[in-house]
């Protein structure tokens, strides 16, 4: 049988069957098409402005490595004039993160980009290993996901950067759309598909340039570009219910490859049908569970109300043991000085039963939150409360 030729250049031997539309392409054409599509996403969503300093949230995994590689290529090819920096979070997971950080360090050299690493231990006083020791494996992803979102912001701030890009791909977004439907989480449904989140209040915006890129194509791109990435799963394995949504996506993709993008499209459309009309894009809980470990927020359907209740509940504080966090690293100011700033008005003629979330600031750390205290501070409080007093 003669080798199939590439449908695009009609010259070279096709070596890739695109997972997205089953076109058979040669290596060069595949790489070009992939990069062109990311470029299209960036241009059509006006993600960057010339001279912008952008931090790439880098975990060393395939998505963020491909993102760094593609952005570097496009930045040079299309003269975005971006100042790219790698920003990594050290969750403090031995046997997983320490190894993947080595990958990021090599990437920094390969792509000639500065690298900044921020650790959970310095930000929160807890490593994930310690958290798991305290609370057990079940539900630890909640802590990790909530902490990571803030850590990225804090890291960016220390670098004076106002834009963080993350490696979330189309599969992640589709999974989130389905998860939010299954959980019945309307506010998140309305914001999780936005390509840009955050910004107005928190002044670090997030975006996901790979939002329309299939996970399988990202793997192929990394393979054909011979990128150096780290492929081990997090040792604190993801939660079962999210796993069912992930496997559902994979089954749908097998039945009809376009399904992933179709779900993303449906998600975007439904966001405009939610009571707050997709206006509430904020990054405080952006794209639930779209973290590097694929299960950044492991909540079971039952416990989410508990968590919301927990975040509103007043809890006694014990300053001697706590690590207080403020938005800019200065000592914590009096709570009374922090004014809750609503960014949008409640629409007057909204139907009654659907409650809208209002974006405000956490009374403790100033991070954006729809509750009085942000999720990270709430979780920290519960952790610190149970931490035994350490004497030297």
């Amino acid at each position: 049988m003669p080798p199939t030729t590439c449908v695009r250049c009609q010259a070279n031997k096709a070596v890739v069957k695109r997972p997205k539309n089953h076109h058979k392409l040669c290596r060069e054409c595949f790489i070009t098409v992939f990069e062109d599509e990311v470029h299209h996403t960036i241009i059509s969503s006006k993600l960057f402005y010339p001279g912008e300093k952008v931090a790439i949230g880098a975990s060393g995994g395939k998505d963020s490595t491909v993102l760094a590689s593609v952005l570097k290529t496009l930045n040079e090819r299309h003269k975005y004039e971006l100042d790219l920096v790698l920003l990594s979070i050290d969750e403090g997971i031995k046997g997983y993160r320490d190894d993947s950080l080595e990958t990021v360090k090599r990437n920094a050299v390969q792509y000639d980009m500065p690298l900044k690493i921020v650790g959970y231990d310095e930000l929160y006083g807890w490593t994930m290993d310690q958290v798991v020791e305290t609370i057990g494996k079940r539900g630890n992803c909640t802590y990790c996901g909530v902490f990571r979102r803030q850590a990225l912001d804090r890291g960016a701030k220390t670098l004076g950067i106002k834009h963080v890009v993350t490696g979330h791909n189309a599969d992640d977004v589709a999974e989130t759309v389905l998860m939010n439907l299954l959980r019945g989480d309307l506010p998140r449904l309305s914001r999780s598909t936005s390509i840009v989140t955050g910004g107005s209040l928190n002044d670090v915006k997030r975006s996901k340039p790979l939002k329309y890129a299939y996970e399988k194509e990202i793997v192929l791109y990394a393979h054909h570009k011979k990128l150096d990435y780290f492929s081990t799963e997090c040792i604190y394995s993801p939660e079962a219910f999210r796993g069912t949504a992930r496997s559902l996506i994979k089954n749908l993709e097998k039945v009809r490859p376009s399904a992933i993008l179709d779900i993303v499209r449906s998600g975007e459309d439904m966001a405009r049908l939610t009571p707050d009309k997709g206006q509430g894009a904020c990054a405080c809980d952006e794209s639930e569970g779209m973290g590097g470990c694929g299960s950044a927020n492991a909540r079971t359907p039952g416990n989410e109300t508990t968590q919301v209740e927990a975040s509103t509940a007043e809890q006694p504080t014990d300053n001697g043991l706590e690590t207080e966090i403020t938005s800019n690293g200065t000592p914590k100011v009096n709570d009374d000085d922090v004014v809750k700033l609503p960014v949008r008005q409640r629409r007057s003629k909204e139907p009654g039963p659907v409650q809208l979330q209002t974006l405000g600031k956490c009374v403790k750390c100033g991070y954006m939150s729809s509750q009085a205290m942000c999720q990270a501070c709430t979780l920290l409080e519960s952790l610190n409360k149970n931490r035994p007093e350490i004497s030297i």
Partner: protein, 386 residues
């Protein structure tokens, strides 16, 4: 422990967590459906005087639609026995999708099965309509979809289905055709509403199928109860030229028609238990041909089947999510726009089309299939083209 709990209002609990006696359970399911009938009557009444309630209900011979038939039959009997009650006249319509059978024959398997239903449920009327009749339905603009000319209607439909690119496309268009045909029967004969027998589980699966088919925008229109805008189209003067030149039909009229899902608060497991209480009805239902058994080839599966399978597996351990999905869909707005998709009949979402940046990268081969893509919504384009 009691054998039968007191007759108070139990809060909604999944079946597995509390025991009910047989009669209480039947009452519980019946009352959930009857409550929806009451809502339907309240929301669609046009005058204060009692008026006849004439409803068309779809019957697929599946478990849920059979239970709907059973409850409609009971309700009709109840109203007939009460002098003060306004007439309650359901028409149960089965759409025969067997395209190989003769369309005018009265001796098809569907007819024979329907005769058994008729015998079993004497208080409601039944009718069998062949799917090929959909070609004369005016609520679809037939110039926008590629139905081949020549041959009889059943053959044309058969050719159309085999020309579609995937099993999912076929399942999706078949579902739309059945919906249109039932709607057409209801409107043509001046019935006052159309009822579907979807259980909560079926509605949840339908919601996610719609989402996976790129029809997220249509979800509130497809899933929620209420008035549905129906457009009819007048074919342009010369039917032969209209398909070849791609000239679309004229929009003729728009009417509002109520579509309801009375079993929307009953889980599939409850439907099955309900059927189990009356074996004589259960026996009517043709046994499913191994649909939910072991894994088959993914190529022969449709998205609908994948979703049904997912919810079969998930209803037990995470039953809360089934209701979650339907309730969430219920909170989405129905956006009214001027133009409607010429196939599925849902309002067209021009804003979504203009902001969409996730093209599939099909530019190489596109536009060979359909000249009228501007008249179809994203989901229908996907169904017709790939």
């Amino acid at each position: 422990m009691h054998d039968s709990p007191p007759h108070d209002n139990n809060p909604y609990t999944p079946l597995s967590t509390y025991t009910q006696c047989r009669d209480c359970f039947i009452d519980y399911v019946d009352s959930k459906a009857v409550k929806r009938f009451t809502v339907l009557q309240r929301e669609t009444r046009t005058s204060t005087k009692p008026e006849p309630r004439r409803y068309v209900a779809g019957l697929s011979f599946g478990s849920s639609s059979t239970v709907l038939t059973q409850i409609l039959d009971k309700t009709a009997q109840y109203h007939a026995s009460r002098k003060g009650s306004s007439p309650f006249e359901p028409l149960i319509v089965h759409i025969d999708t067997d395209l190989s059978a003769r369309t005018d024959s009265q001796d098809t398997p569907a007819y024979r099965l329907l005769a058994k239903y008729r015998e079993r449920f004497p208080n409601v009327s039944f009718e069998c309509v062949h799917l090929s009749k959909v070609l004369s339905v005016k609520t679809i603009d037939w110039t926008t979809i590629p139905v081949p000319e020549g041959g009889n209607d059943a053959e044309r439909l058969q050719l159309f289905f085999s020309s579609l690119p995937s099993v999912t496309s076929r399942a999706d268009s078949l579902r739309l055709f059945i919906r249109h045909l039932l709607l057409d029967v209801a409107i043509q004969r001046s019935y006052s509403a159309l009822l579907f027998g979807h259980s909560t589980t079926a509605l949840a699966a339908l919601t996610l199928s719609e989402v996976a088919n790129g029809r997220g925008f249509a979800v509130p229109w497809q899933i929620n109860d209420g008035l549905f805008t129906v457009c009819t189209y007048r074919p342009s003067a010369d039917p032969a030229s209209s398909t070849s030149t791609g000239e679309a039909s004229q929009e003729d009229a728009k009417i509002q028609f109520p579509i309801y899902y009375p079993l929307r608060e009953i889980l599939k497991a409850e439907v099955m238990t309900y059927l189990g209480t009356t074996p004589a009805v259960q026996e009517l239902i043709p046994s499913a041909n191994g649909a939910s058994s072991s894994v088959v080839s993914h190529k022969d599966q449709s998205i609908e089947e994948v979703m049904a399978r997912y919810f079969d597996g998930v209803e037990g351990p995470y039953s809360g999510i089934v209701t979650n999905v339907v309730r969430t869909a219920g909170k989405l707005d129905r956006l009214v726009t001027e133009h409607h998709c010429r196939l599925c009949g849902i309002t067209l979402d021009q804003e979504g089309d203009s902001t969409w940046a996730g093209e599939l990268g099909d530019d190489l081969t596109q536009d060979a299939v359909n000249p009228d893509t501007g008249k179809l919504c994203y989901g229908c384009k996907r169904s017709m083209g790939g």
